[in-house]
Symmetry: C2
Subunit: 229 residues, 2 copies
């Protein structure tokens, strides 16, 4: 990062797609809803999906106190990878098919968070990561809930990002082929929120669900009634 | 799988979310556009996103012949994980926030594919995985392109799936809180295809882009003109 480029974070294939600035890496980590955490168990790799949140120069992961993943990852080197899919790149040749994407890879040693205040901050950040505005609304964790939750901190010391953007790249010899070529844009879309069947009457859909920075809410173009402000 | 449950594929947290049938696992692998591949480099985990394709009981991965990932993964144990995000589960309590998702985890030893015919089959499958119908349309790989592509086969011998579905689960003591609760459905949406600026005139958007089993094409409800049949 910013001059701390290590051998394993150097992007070797398509080096023009590599990004090493903190801003570029953090933007991907912040936008991706989930990450994939790699750790080793008896020398072999295990990869599991989970929610993450970034606070300054650290990532937080969490789970049940008894979580096998967190148990194996705590105190050990982990690799946390977040990927955003932006489009299918359909070239005239099979060979030049690709995807538009942004991904960030973070290496670090996961450390268990034992300080209660840091745990609370991390859990708030995890909720805020998913829906900005939610942590001030939902009931915060009780002491018992906090005790049965394990939180890991991964300092972001070694990281890189990689992205492909833009149109198809076919060789000039293929441009005349009778094959459609182009990009199919992809996005993670949030649809209309479905209230809990047990939701008390008179509680409107919160405004932060419509304003969330992460999604385009295609099905929510109409102004909802009685929205929180 | 189907009675071959190993210790590391047993779902420990929320065992009610575990699935071990081949059908359930394969459905997730087939629907997920990309996977995250975990391998080890000098004993430490590395996780990178890539496209995969399943053919019978094997997964195929591919990349440039010089790819560091494929070089490190070939002949070694890998973990291939595919995750589909289905919804945000917003509980009244921070503690019960969750996601609806489906994920599949495959363990295996990646083997380099050297047989030319199997390589071609794998590359066709990789294109078909992304857009069904595409491999019969695009120009197939030349011998030189085949030579500069590395393909790995991961036999699916040990695997499991995990899924959360359904509504919020709050404790009875929280049901009376003045907090909105519910599920925000998520889906990966494909938008209107953007033809390559260099596309020859008179080549319509192919019909298989509209019929693809994987996407709901929100912006393509109108019948396109001159569609391939």
């Amino acid at each position: 990062m910013d001059g701390e480029l290590s051998e394993r974070t150097r992007v070797r294939r398509h080096p023009e797609r590599g990004e090493y600035s903190r801003d570029a890496i953090y933007a991907i980590l912040d936008e991706a809803l989930v990450c994939h955490v790699g750790f080793t168990v008896q020398g072999e790799p295990v990869v599991l999906p989970t929610v993450h949140a970034r606070v300054a120069d650290a990532l937080y992961l969490h789970g049940a106190a008894a979580s096998a993943m967190l148990g194996a990852a705590g105190g050990s080197p982990v690799c946390v990878t977040a990927t955003l899919l932006d489009g299918l790149v359909l070239a005239r040749s099979v060979y030049n098919h690709s995807m538009n994407y942004r991904s960030a890879v973070v290496f670090g040693v996961a450390q268990e968070v034992t300080d209660e205040q840091e745990k609370r901050t991390a859990l708030d950040a995890l909720v805020e990561h998913v829906v900005a505005g939610r942590s001030a609304d939902a009931r915060g964790p009780s002491t018992a809930e906090l005790r049965s939750t394990r939180v890991l901190r991964v300092p972001i010391t070694e990281a890189s990002a990689k992205a492909r953007t833009g149109p198809v790249k076919d060789g000039p010899e293929d441009l005349g082929l009778d094959v459609w070529a182009g990009v199919v844009p992809l996005r993670l879309a949030a649809e209309t929120p479905e209230p809990d069947p047990e939701l008390r009457e008179g509680i409107p859909t919160p405004g932060y669900l419509r304003r969330d920075r992460r999604f385009s809410h295609t099905s929510q173009d109409q102004e909802p009634r009685g929205e929180h402000r």
